[in-house]
C-alpha cells in the first residue's frame, strides 16, 4: 500500500488541482458571469442605450449616503446581483415532466462545456522555482521544472474538445424532451438537427490546420505559432517564407468555416434555432426556472468562452505575444521567466475576450437564419468547402514542401 501511495506524484497532483481550481473557478466562471454582463452592456451601446449601470455595493441599505460604484463605472456588481436573484427565485418544476432527465439536462449542458477547458493551453509555463527555498524549509523537494499552464497536456487536444463539446447537445435534447411541452421539444429537435449539420464541417475545417502543424497537441501548436508566426498572421520566424503565405489562403478558409461552425455549436445567433422566442416561446428551456435555467445560460456562455479559446489557440497564436521573437519576448521551453509566463496568460485571455466581444457584435449584426437556410448552408456549402479545402491544402503542401 505504501509503495502504491509513493507511486503518486504528489507535486503533479497538487499543481493539477491548483490549475483546475484556478482555471475553472477563478477564470472561466467569473468570465461567464462577466460575459453575460458584457453582452448586456455591449448590446445596449449598439442599440444607443446605456445598459445596466446602477448595481453597486448597496451601502445605502445600511444607512450610508452613497452606493459604492467600482472604478466609477456603475453596474460592475450586476453579475453578483443576477446570481443572487437566480438563487433566490422560486424553483418551479412542472407536474408532467420526466423528473430525472429534467434535473439531469442542465448539468449535461454545463459539464461538457467546463470539461473541455482541460486541454486548453491558457499560458506557456510558470517558473515557480523562486518558491523552492520556502518549500524545502517545509520539508518538500521543490519544483524541478516549470509548470505547464494547461490542466491536461493531451496529445489529442482538438479531438478531445470536439468529442466532449458535442455532448452539450444531449443536455438540450433531454431538456426539450423531458419538459413534456411542444415548444421546448421543437427547440431541442432543431438543435440536434443543427448539430449534425455543423459537426461535420467543424471537424473537417481543422483538418488542414492539423496537416500544417503535423500534430494534435494544442500547447505545442501554440509554441510553434509563437516562434513561427500565427497561422493567420505569418509575419515573423518561418512565416516569412513563400510556403507559409501560400498556405495562408486555405487557413483563412478554415478559420471562416471553423468560426461559423463554432457559432452553430454554441447555439449563438445567427444560429440559435434552439431558443428563438418569436417562434418557440423561449426554446428548450421554456419550462425551466431559477438556478436550472441559469445553468443552461452559463453552459452556453462557457461553451462560447472555450470555443473562443480553441479558435484563438488554433488560428491566432494562443497565448503567444505578436512579433514575440522580434521584440525578445519569445518562449524558450523550460527557461521562461515568471513574469513572461504571467504575460502569456494575460495575452491569452485578452485574445479570448476580444473574440467574445466579436461573438456579441455578430449577434446584433445578423438576423437569425431560417431553418432550411441553415441546413442548406451547412450541408451544401460549408461541408463541400471544408472538404475541398482539405484537398487544396494537401496539393499546396506537396508543391510547397516537396518530399525529399
Amino acid at each position: 500500500m505504501a509503495a502504491h501511495l509513493a507511486s503518486f506524484d504528489l507535486a503533479f497532483l497538487i499543481t493539477s488541482v491548483v490549475k483546475i481550481v484556478f482555471l475553472t473557478f477563478l477564470v472561466i466562471l467569473p468570465l461567464v458571469a462577466y460575459s453575460v454582463y458584457a453582452e448586456r452592456r455591449f448590446s445596449a451601446i449598439i442599440q444607443d442605450r446605456v445598459g445596466p449601470n446602477r448595481t453597486g455595493i448597496p451601502l445605502t441599505l445600511f444607512g450610508f449616503k452613497k452606493d459604492i460604484q467600482i472604478f466609477g463605472i456603475g453596474g460592475l456588481v450586476q453579475p453578483l446581483a443576477d446570481g443572487l436573484k437566480f438563487l433566490l427565485k422560486e424553483d418551479f418544476t412542472p407536474k408532467s415532466v420526466n423528473t430525472f432527465y429534467y434535473w439531469l439536462a442542465p448539468a449535461l449542458t454545463m459539464v461538457p462545456a467546463l470539461m473541455t477547458c482541460a486541454v486548453l493551453p491558457f499560458g506557456s509555463e510558470l517558473d515557480l522555482s523562486f518558491l523552492n527555498p520556502l518549500i524545502t524549509s517545509l520539508g518538500g523537494d521543490g519544483f524541478t521544472a516549470p509548470i505547464k499552464s494547461v490542466i491536461a497536456d493531451l496529445n489529442v487536444g482538438p479531438l478531445f474538445v470536439f468529442a466532449i463539446a458535442s455532448l452539450g447537445v444531449y443536455g438540450i435534447v433531454l431538456a426539450g424532451w423531458s419538459s413534456n411541452s411542444k415548444y421546448p421539444f421543437l427547440g431541442s429537435i432543431r438543435s440536434s438537427a443543427q448539430m449534425i449539420s455543423y459537426e461535420l464541417s467543424l471537424g473537417l475545417s481543422i483538418v488542414p490546420v492539423l496537416m500544417v502543424f503535423g500534430e494534435l497537441n494544442l500547447s505545442k501548436m501554440a509554441a510553434f505559432q509563437d516562434a513561427n508566426g500565427w497561422l493567420l498572421l505569418p509575419l515573423w520566424g518561418e512565416g516569412l517564407t513563400v510556403a507559409r503565405w501560400v498556405l495562408w489562403v486555405p487557413m483563412l478558409i478554415s478559420f471562416c468555416i471553423f468560426t461559423v461552425a463554432m457559432f452553430a455549436e454554441t447555439n449563438r445567433l445567427p444560429f440559435d434555432l434552439a431558443e428563438c422566442e418569436t417562434e418557440l416561446v423561449a426554446g428548450y428551456h421554456t419550462e425551466y426556472s431559477s438556478m436550472k435555467f441559469a445553468l443552461f445560460f452559463m453552459g452556453e456562455y462557457a461553451a462560447m468562452i472555450i470555443g473562443s479559446g480553441i479558435a484563438v489557440t488554433l488560428f491566432l497564436g494562443g497565448w503567444s505575444i505578436p512579433f514575440a521573437p522580434l521584440i525578445g519576448l519569445d518562449y524558450v521551453a523550460g527557461a521562461t521567466p515568471f513574469w513572461l509566463g504571467l504575460l502569456h496568460i494575460g495575452t491569452f485571455f485578452a485574445k479570448v475576450i476580444v473574440f467574445i466581444l466579436f461573438f456579441i457584435l455578430i449577434r446584433w449584426s445578423l438576423p437569425r437564419f431560417r431553418f432550411d437556410q441553415l441546413m442548406k448552408l451547412g450541408w451544401l456549402y460549408m461541408f463541400e468547402l471544408a472538404l475541398a479545402n482539405v484537398f487544396l491544402t494537401a496539393v499546396l503542401m506537396i508543391i510547397c514542401y516537396p518530399v525529399k
Binding site: 455591449f42 445596449a44 451601446i45 449598439i46 442599440q47 444607443d48 442605450r49 446605456v50 457584435l361 455578430i362 446584433w364 449584426s365 445578423l366
Partner: protein, 181 residues
C-alpha cells in the same frame, strides 16, 4: 385584384455569400457601439433619459393626461357640486362621491351641494379623461402627475384632500356661482 410583381433586389455573389453584407452589418453595429460608448464616457448619453434623476416634467405636452384632480376657484370655493356625473361616466368605476349639502349660512349656500367624500382609486383609473369631459362645473381636470406609486392599495386611493392638493387653484374659468363678479 391586380397582381403585384415584387422586384427582389439582384444580389452580387459576394452579397449572397454574406461577405460584403456581413462587413456592412458589422460596420453599422460597431459604429453605433463606439458612438454611444463615447457619449457615455463623455458623460452625455443623448439617447436615454435616466428616469429617476431626469424627468419628463418640462417636456410634457399641454394635452398630457396624468392623474385626475379637483380644482378650486380664485375664491377658494370647491368647484365640484357633487352632481356625480363623473362617477356615473367613469368606465372603470374608479370615482366614488358622497355628496353633502351646504349649510344655509355659508356664503356659497346658493350652490346647494358639495362633495363630502371624493375618492379616486388610482389602481382602477385608466386616465381616459372622460370625467374631465363630462364635468359641467369644470371642477375636475387631468393634471400632469404620472409617477403615482404606493406601498398598499389603500395608499393608492386619492381622497378629497389629496385631489385638491394635486389640483390646486385654477383661475380664469367660467364662474357660474360667483356673486362677486
Amino acid at each position: 385584384m391586380a397582381t403585384i410583381i415584387v422586384q427582389r433586389p439582384k444580389l452580387a455573389w459576394h452579397e449572397r455569400w454574406f461577405i460584403s453584407t456581413l462587413a456592412k452589418g458589422l460596420k453599422i453595429t460597431l459604429g453605433h457601439a463606439l458612438k454611444t460608448f463615447r457619449e457615455i464616457t463623455g458623460g452625455k448619453a443623448k439617447v436615454t433619459m435616466e428616469y429617476p434623476e431626469e424627468k419628463w416634467d418640462s417636456n410634457l405636452p399641454s394635452y398630457y393626461r396624468g392623474a385626475p384632480a379637483l380644482v378650486t376657484d380664485e375664491h377658494d370655493r370647491e368647484r365640484c357640486v357633487s352632481c356625480q356625473l363623473c362617477e356615473f361616466i367613469c368606465p372603470p368605476k374608479a370615482i366614488k362621491i358622497i355628496p353633502s349639502e351646504i349649510p344655509s349660512d355659508d356664503p356659497w349656500a346658493k350652490v346647494e351641494k358639495r362633495p363630502k367624500e371624493f375618492d379616486i382609486d388610482m389602481i382602477r383609473c385608466i386616465y381616459c379623461g372622460m370625467c374631465e369631459e363630462v364635468c359641467p362645473e369644470q371642477a375636475i381636470f387631468l393634471r400632469k402627475d404620472y409617477a403615482i406609486t404606493g406601498e398598499s392599495r389603500a395608499e393608492m386611493v386619492h381622497d378629497k384632500k389629496k385631489l385638491y392638493e394635486i389640483g390646486g387653484k385654477r383661475v380664469g374659468l367660467v364662474n357660474k356661482w360667483n356673486e362677486l363678479k
